[in-house]
Symmetry: C2
Subunit: 210 residues, 2 copies
Amino acid sequence: MDQEYSSTLLENAVTALSRLPGVGRKTALRLALHLLRRPEDEAVEIGQSLIDLRRNIRYCSVCHNISETEVCPICSSGNRRRSTVCVVENVRDVMSIEATGQFDGLYHVLGGLVSPVDGIGPDMLEIESLVKRVGSGEIDEVILALSATMEGDTTNYYIYRRLTAKGVSPKPIKITQLARGVSVGNELEYTDEVTLGRSLLNRTPFEDTY
Amino acid sequence: MDQEYSSTLLENAVTALSRLPGVGRKTALRLALHLLRRPEDEAVEIGQSLIDLRRNIRYCSVCHNISETEVCPICSSGNRRRSTVCVVENVRDVMSIEATGQFDGLYHVLGGLVSPVDGIGPDMLEIESLVKRVGSGEIDEVILALSATMEGDTTNYYIYRRLTAKGVSPKPIKITQLARGVSVGNELEYTDEVTLGRSLLNRTPFEDTY
C-alpha cells in the first residue's frame, strides 16, 4: 500500500515509526497525525526521550541489567543477598521478578536464550560472565528463571552443565529452577496436561502454600 | 500498575511513549526495550523525525492540508480542477480520497466536525475560510465528503446553510455529498437497513456502475 503523503516530514516520521514492532504504516500515520494535533513540547519530549534512552543507557558490568551507572542499583545494594543469583533472559524479566517482591538476591541477565533455529548459540549470551561470577566463590545458589519453552529448557541444561563442570565453582553450589505448576487463578480444566503432570510430581505440603 | 524501572532514562521514554494513543505502559516498555536492542541510528532517526515533524510542519494557507510550503502541492498544482472543492474532516481523509485516484479538484480540510457533545462548535473549524473561498467566485461545486455520522450530518447541514445564505457566492454553486450505499464487496445480508434504504432511494442506472 503506497500512500502519497503531501509532506516528506510526515513521510519520514511514518517510515521511522513503522520500524517499531507491531506498528504498521497505518498505525504510524495515526500516531504521527496525533502528534501534529498536540503541543510541540509533547512531540519533542517523546522524540528526545527515545534519543536519550538509546544514547545514554548503559548495562551493569556485573549482571548486564540496564543501568545508568557502571554497576546497577541492585548489584550495588547493601540490602540484597549476594550469595543468590537469579538467571533471567532479559531486562523485562528482572522487572517482573522485582514486581513480585519475593526475591532479594542478585540477577544475571543472559540477553536471550539458546536457540539453534534462530542461530543463537551459547557464546552469544552472557553465560561466560555467569561462570566467572560463580567462580568467584561468593555464590551459593543459582536460580534458573527462564521461560518454560524448548529454548528455555535448552539454555537451562547448557548452563547447568557449564556450572557443574569440574573446576568452575570452588565450592558446591545449589542450582534450582522456577517451579512448574498450575497458574494461580487458573481452572484445572484449562491447564495443559504436561503442566498438570509436573504440578502433581512436584506437589507441596498443603501448609506450604500459605 | 506501578513498575519500578532501574533507569530514569527508561522511565522517561516509557512515560513519553505511553502518551501516544493506543499505547499503554506495557506496550511503551516493549517499544523502548526494542529500541535498546537496535542500532543507535535507528532510535535517533525515530526520535528526530518526530521532533522535526512537529517543529517544521505547516498547514496550507488555502486548504489547511499539511504542507511544507505556504500553499500545498495540490492547491498550487496546474493539473487540478480549481472549480471543485471537496470538504473533508481531516488530513487523513485527503489521503484516502487521493488514494482513490477519482478526484482531480481541490480540498478544504475542516479540522474536525461540529459536535456539541464534545464542545466543538462551527467557529472552531475552518468553515469561514471555506465561505471566503466560495465567495471568490472561482468555485462551481462543493462536495461534502464527511463521515456518515450524526456529527458529519450536522456539519454538512451547517455548511450547506452557510454556503447557500444570501450574498455568500456571487454565482449559483452546486453542493453535493458522497453517495450513501452498499459498500463494494459487502453482502446485502450484512448491510444495515438505513444504508440499504438509502441505496434503494439513490439507485443508479445499471450502466452507470461500469
